[in-house]
Amino acid sequence: MGRKGVETLVGVFVLLGMLGLLFLALKAANLSNFGGGDTYTLTAYFDNIGGLKVRAPVRSAGVTVGRVASISLDAKRYQGAVRIEIDRAVQFPSDSSARILTSGLLGDQYIGIEPGGQEKNYAPGDEIKQTQSAVVLENLISQFLFSKAADAGTPSAPAASGTKK
C-alpha cells in the first residue's frame, strides 16, 4: 500500500474517533445543554446550601433552565454564595425567589426559581434577594425531638393547645 493509502486510512481512523467523541459528548452526555451556550449569571445567598453541588440544575416549574456555576462562602455575610448561569432565552421578574430543593426523596439537590410579579426582569449579575435554604435533615429531626420533649415535659401542653383551637 502506498503512502497516500496509509495516510487516507489513518485519516478515516481519526475521523471515526472524532465522530465517536461527538456522539459521546452530544448525544450521550449533557454538553449540548448549557455547555458554553448563551447564558447570564445571577447570584443567590443561602444560609445553608445543604448538599448543593456545582453543575447542579436550576429549574423553574420543573424545567431545567440553567446550572450552578460556582459555590463559595461569602466571608462578610457568612452565607453560601451560589452563582447560577441561566439560559438567556429565559428571563425572570426581579422579585423572583430561589429555593434549594431535592428531587425525589433521596435525589440530588437543585435550585428552584419561583417567578415573581414585577414588570422588570433580572439583569445579568443581579442578586436574588429572596432565598430559602436547603432543608437539613438533622435540624428537622432535632426540631421534632425538641417539640416532642416539650410536649412530654409539660403534660398540660396538649390540653392547653387543645383549648386554643
Binding site: 495516510e7 489513518v10 481519526v14 474517533g17 456522539f23 459521546l24 450521550a28 449533557n30
Partner: protein, 262 residues
C-alpha cells in the same frame, strides 16, 4: 544467613536496575519525540499499524460488552422497575471504566505484542545496532514514532469502544427488548457529564496508551536477542502492561472521582 542477605541485596539492586532502565528509556523517548514529530509520516504509518488494524477487534469487543452489559442489567433492573436507567448505567460504566480499560487490555494484546516482537527481532537481527553504526539514533528513528503512534491511537480506540458499546446496548435494550427509547436517551443525557465522565475517560485512555506502548517498547528494546528472549519479552510485556493498566486505573479513578460534583 549471609547467603540470604546477599540474595536480598541482589534482588534490590536488580529492581533498582530495572526501574533505572525504564526511567532512562522513558527520558530518551521524550527527548526523541521532538525529532520524531519532524517526520510525521513515520508516526502516521505507526498509527495505521497500531490503530487501524486494531479497529476490528475493538469494535467487535465493544459490541459484545455492550450487548452483555445491557442484557445483564435488564435482568436485574426489571425486578425493580428501573429499566429506564439502563442506558445511563451502560454509558457511565463504558465511558468511565470499561471503555478505556478493556480497550487498553486488548491494545496490549493486539498492538503491544506486535511492537515488542518487532523491536525484539530488530534487536536480535542487529538492525538496531546497524542503525547506531550509521549514526542514526534507534530510539529516535524506531521507538519514538511507535510511542507517539500508540498514544494517538489508544484514545481513538477507547472512544470507538465506548460508542459501539452504547449503540449495542441501544440495539439490544430498545430495539430487541423494548425499553422506552426516549427514557433511554434522556436519562443518559442528564446523568452523564461531558467533561467529568467522557473527558476523564479520555484522559485515562491517553495514560493507558502511554503505559501500554511504553512497556511494549521497553520489553522489546531490552529483550535478550535470542528467539527465547523475544518470546519471553512478548509475554512479559502483555503481563506487565495489563497489570500496570489495572493498577493505574484504580489510582486514576480514586483521583478523578473522589470529589463529588467537582
Amino acid at each position: 544467613m549471609t547467603n540470604f542477605v546477599a540474595r536480598l541485596g541482589a534482588a534490590t539492586l536488580e529492581i533498582l536496575r530495572v526501574l533505572g532502565h525504564h526511567a532512562a528509556l522513558f527520558a530518551a523517548l521524550l527527548r526523541a519525540c521532538g525529532a520524531a514529530v519532524k517526520r510525521p509520516y513515520l508516526i502516521v504509518a505507526q498509527v495505521h499499524a497500531i490503530g487501524n488494524l486494531s479497529v476490528l477487534i475493538i469494535v467487535a469487543s465493544g459490541m459484545a460488552v455492550g450487548f452483555v452489559l445491557a442484557l445483564q442489567l435488564y435482568y436485574t433492573l426489571v425486578r425493580y422497575g428501573a429499566t429506564d436507567s439502563l442506558g445511563l448505567i451502560v454509558n457511565l460504566s463504558l465511558t468511565r471504566e470499561l471503555g478505556p480499560v478493556i480497550a487498553a487490555l486488548l491494545f496490549a494484546g493486539r498492538a503491544g505484542t506486535s511492537l515488542t516482537a518487532e523491536i525484539g527481532l530488530m534487536k536480535a537481527g542487529e538492525q538496531l545496532a546497524a542503525l547506531d553504526m550509521m549514526a542514526l539514533d534507534p530510539v529516535e528513528r524506531i521507538l519514538a514514532p511507535r510511542f507517539l503512534g500508540g498514544i494517538i491511537a489508544m484514545p481513538v480506540l477507547a472512544i470507538l469502544f465506548s460508542t459501539v458499546g452504547i449503540l449495542a446496548a441501544y440495539v439490544l435494550a430498545v430495539l430487541l427488548i423494548g425499553v422506552d427509547a426516549g427514557n433511554f436517551w434522556s436519562i443518559m443525557h442528564s446523568g452523564v457529564d461531558a467533561w467529568r465522565d467522557v473527558g476523564n475517560g479520555i484522559v485515562k485512555s491517553v495514560v493507558f496508551g502511554l503505559i501500554c506502548t511504553f512497556v511494549a517498547l521497553y520489553q522489546g528494546y531490552e529483550a535478550e536477542p535470542t528467539p527465547k528472549g523475544v518470546s519471553d519479552a512478548t509475554t512479559r510485556g502483555v503481563v506487565v502492561a495489563s497489570l500496570a493498566t489495572l493498577i493505574m486505573d484504580f489510582v486514576l479513578t480514586a483521583i478523578m472521582f473522589s470529589t463529588p460534583g467537582g
